[in-house]
C-alpha cells in the first residue's frame, strides 16, 4: 500500500508563504509539503489561519510573499480554475454542489469539465455517455448509488460531502484538498466518510484540514499544527501528540473548542 516517505518530489510544497490583512497576519512564513501517497493533516485552533491558508493553496487568495509549487510547477500566480485543471481537487468546508442538479448531473458536470468538452453546443449534456458512465461508477464508489436521481439540495449533509468528493475524484486529481470534511456531520456519517477516505489513502495524496481528532489520528501519516498563522510543528501523529506546546495550545483545550 502506501510507500513510506520517499525521496520523490512532493506533490504540493508551500515555501515561506505569508499573508496579512492590514495589521492582522493570517499566514506567517508557512513552509509545508505533501508527499506522494501521503495523508498530511493540518490542524490548529479556531482562528489559527487554516481557512486563509486553504484559500491561498486553492488560488482564491493571493499570498503576499512565498511560493506555491504544485506537481512540479510554480502555481503561485495561477487562478483557481487553472490550478484545478492541473489536478488540484478541492472539497469545500461548506458543501459546495449545485443544489438544483441531481447527484448524477453534478458528477457528470465535473466529468465533462475534466474531459474538456465544455464547448459542445449541439448534443445534450445528458447524452454524454462517457461522462455518465464515469459519474455512475464514481457515485457507486462513494456509496450514493441509490441517490443518483436526487437533487443535491435534498441530500443529507454527509451525502453532500460524499457527492462533493465524487465530483473531485471523477476528475482524477493529483491532490485532494479537504477542508474540514467532517464538519457538521453526525457520528455515523463521519465514520462512513472516514472509511471512504481511508479507502483513498495511499492512492491519492491528501491535505486534510480537520477539527475531528479521531479522524485526523486515524488517517494522517503526518500532522502539521498551525498556531497564529505559523506552523508550530510538523511530524508523525506520535510526535505531535507528545509535543508539549501543541498539547497546551491546542489539544489541551479541545473540549473548549
Amino acid at each position: 500500500m502506501a510507500e513510506p516517505a520517499s525521496p520523490q518530489a512532493p506533490v504540493l510544497a508551500l515555501e515561506r508563504l505569508s499573508k496579512s490583512f492590514g495589521a492582522l497576519t493570517v499566514t506567517r512564513d508557512v513552509t509545508l509539503d505533501v508527499r506522494p501517497a501521503e495523508v498530511h493533516a493540518l490542524i490548529g485552533p479556531n482562528g489559527a489561519g487554516k481557512t486563509s491558508l486553504i484559500a491561498q493553496i486553492a488560488g482564491a487568495l493571493a499570498p503576499d510573499a512565498g511560493r506555491i509549487l504544485f506537481a512540479g510547477a510554480d502555481v503561485t500566480r495561477l487562478g483557481m480554475a487553472r490550478r484545478a485543471r492541473r489536478g488540484l481537487g478541492r472539497v469545500f468546508q461548506i458543501s459546495n454542489v449545485v443544489g438544483a442538479f441531481t447527484s448524477l448531473e453534478n458528477v457528470a458536470l465535473a466529468a465533462i469539465v475534466a474531459g474538456g468538452r465544455t464547448f459542445r453546443c449541439w448534443r445534450p449534456a445528458l447524452s454524454d455517455r462517457a461522462a455518465l458512465e464515469q459519474a455512475r461508477a464514481m457515485l457507486e464508489r462513494v456509496g450514493l448509488a441509490d441517490r443518483m436521481a436526487t437533487p443535491a439540495a435534498a441530500l443529507s449533509h454527509g451525502e453532500r460531502r460524499a457527492l462533493e468528493l465524487a465530483m473531485c475524484l471523477v476528475q482524477e486529481p493529483k491532490l485532494l484538498l479537504l477542508d474540514e470534511p467532517m464538519a457538521g456531520t453526525g457520528r455515523a456519517e463521519s465514520e462512513r466518510l472516514t472509511a471512504l477516505l481511508a479507502g483513498l489513502k495511499g492512492r491519492i495524496p491528501i491535505l486534510l484540514v480537520e477539527h475531528d481528532m479521531a479522524t485526523v489520528f486515524a488517517l494522517a501519516d503526518r500532522i502539521s499544527v498551525l498556531i497564529s498563522g505559523a506552523i508550530a510543528i510538523t511530524g508523525t501523529p506520535e510526535t505531535v501528540r507528545a509535543d508539549a506546546v501543541v498539547r497546551q495550545a491546542y489539544l489541551g483545550d479541545e473540549e473548549a473548542v
Partner: protein, 321 residues
C-alpha cells in the same frame, strides 16, 4: 442540465414548447390574413420580432445569469445596419442579415470583455451605460438623420427580388426566425455549453474549483445573444421602414427585460409569452389612454411586489383558484 426544466405548471407547460408557440403564431397570422385585417399582420410581425429579441435576452439572463440592461443596443445596431447599408445601395437580405448579426455580435463581445470583468449591480449599470453611449452616438450621426432618424431606402431584397412586400411576408419571416432561434438556443442550453453557463450562474466558485473559468463561455453567449438581437433589429427596420436612435433608448432595454421576466426565465419560450403579454397590454391599454405605460408600470410593480413575477405562476395561481 435541467433541459426539461421544472418550469411551467402542469397543463400549461406545453405552451412553452417552441413548436406550439410557432404553431400558435402561424395560426394567428392565418386568421389575420383570412379575416382581411390590414393591421393584425403588422402587430403579429412586430410581436414576433420583439419576441426574437426577448428570447435572446432570456438566454443571457436565464441560462448565463447575465442581467444585461443594454439589449436595445444590438437591436439598434441591426436596424442601423439596414439603414446605413441601404444608403450605400445595399438591400440584399443575404448581406443585411449577416451584417446585422455580425455587427451586433461584435458590439456585444467588445463591450462584454469589459462588462464581464464585473458582476451583479456593476454589470447591470455598465451594460446600460454602454447602450446609452450608442444611443447618443446614433443621435450624433447627422448623415443618418441624427436624433430624428431616417427612413430606409427600401425593404430587403433577394438579389433584386422584393420578397417582403407586405407585413404578412415579414411576419412569416419573423416567425420562422423566431422558430429557428428557439430551437438553436434550446439545443445550446441543453448542451454542455449551456450547462457550464448555468453552473457558472448557480455557483461560480464551484465551477472554478472544477477547473473552468466561464469567461469565454459567457462572452460567446453575449455575442450570440447580441447577434440574434441584431437579426431582430434588421427585421424591425424592415417592418417600420424607419430607423432612429429611439430603438436604442434604455426604455427599450427595460421593456425587453420586462418581457423576459414576466414570461419566466426558466424556459426560453417564456420570453415569447412575455412579449405577447406586453404587446397585448400595449394594444389594449394603448387604445384607451395615451398613458398606457402607467398601466404597464403598475402591472410590473404588482407582479414583482406580489411575488408573481412569473407568468407561469400567475397562470397556475388562477388555474387552481
Amino acid at each position: 442540465m435541467s433541459a426539461r426544466a421544472a418550469g411551467g405548471g402542469a397543463g400549461f407547460a406545453f405552451l412553452f414548447r417552441p413548436a406550439v408557440l410557432i404553431a400558435l403564431f402561424a395560426l394567428a397570422l392565418a386568421v389575420a390574413v383570412w379575416s382581411g385585417s390590414g393591421y393584425a399582420p403588422t402587430i403579429i410581425a412586430r410581436t414576433a420580432i420583439l419576441a426574437l429579441a426577448a428570447v435572446s435576452l432570456s438566454f443571457l439572463i436565464g441560462q448565463a445569469g447575465l442581467v444585461s440592461f443594454g439589449h436595445a443596443a444590438p437591436l439598434g445596431i441591426g436596424a442601423y445596419a439596414v439603414l446605413i447599408a441601404g444608403e450605400y445601395g445595399v438591400t440584399n437580405a443575404l448581406v443585411l442579415f449577416p451584417l446585422g448579426f455580425a455587427a451586433a455580435a461584435l458590439w456585444s463581445a467588445a463591450t462584454g470583455v469589459i462588462a464581464l470583468r464585473t458582476r451583479g449591480v456593476y454589470f447591470i449599470m455598465i451594460t446600460l451605460a454602454f447602450a446609452q453611449m450608442l444611443f447618443y452616438v446614433a443621435g450624433s450621426l447627422s448623415a443618418f438623420g441624427g436624433d430624428d432618424g431616417l427612413g430606409i431606402a427600401a425593404r430587403a431584397t433577394f438579389f433584386g427580388q422584393r420578397f417582403l412586400r407586405t407585413d404578412t411576408d415579414l411576419a412569416v419571416f419573423a416567425i420562422a426566425a423566431l422558430g429557428v432561434t428557439l430551437l438553436v438556443l434550446e439545443r445550446l442550453s441543453a448542451a454542455p455549453f449551456g450547462l457550464m453557463l448555468r453552473t457558472g450562474r448557480a455557483n461560480e466558485e464551484k465551477l472554478a474549483s472544477l477547473g473552468l473559468d466561464p469567461f469565454v463561455h459567457r462572452l460567446v453567449a453575449l455575442a450570440a445573444a447580441g447577434g440574434i438581437a441584431g437579426i431582430a433589429g434588421v427585421l424591425l427596420a424592415n417592418q417600420v421602414e424607419y430607423v432612429s436612435p429611439a430603438t436604442m433608448n434604455w426604455h427599450v432595454s427595460g421593456e425587453l427585460i420586462v418581457m423576459v421576466v414576466l414570461g419566466g426565465t426558466k424556459r426560453l419560450g417564456g420570453a415569447v409569452l412575455g412579449a405577447v403579454a406586453v404587446m397585448v397590454i400595449d394594444e389594449t391599454l394603448g387604445h384607451f389612454t395615451e398613458f398606457w405605460k402607467f398601466g404597464l408600470g403598475l402591472v410590473i410593480l404588482g407582479a414583482v411586489l406580489l411575488r408573481g413575477a412569473d407568468l407561469t405562476q400567475l397562470i397556475r395561481g388562477t388555474a387552481h383558484g
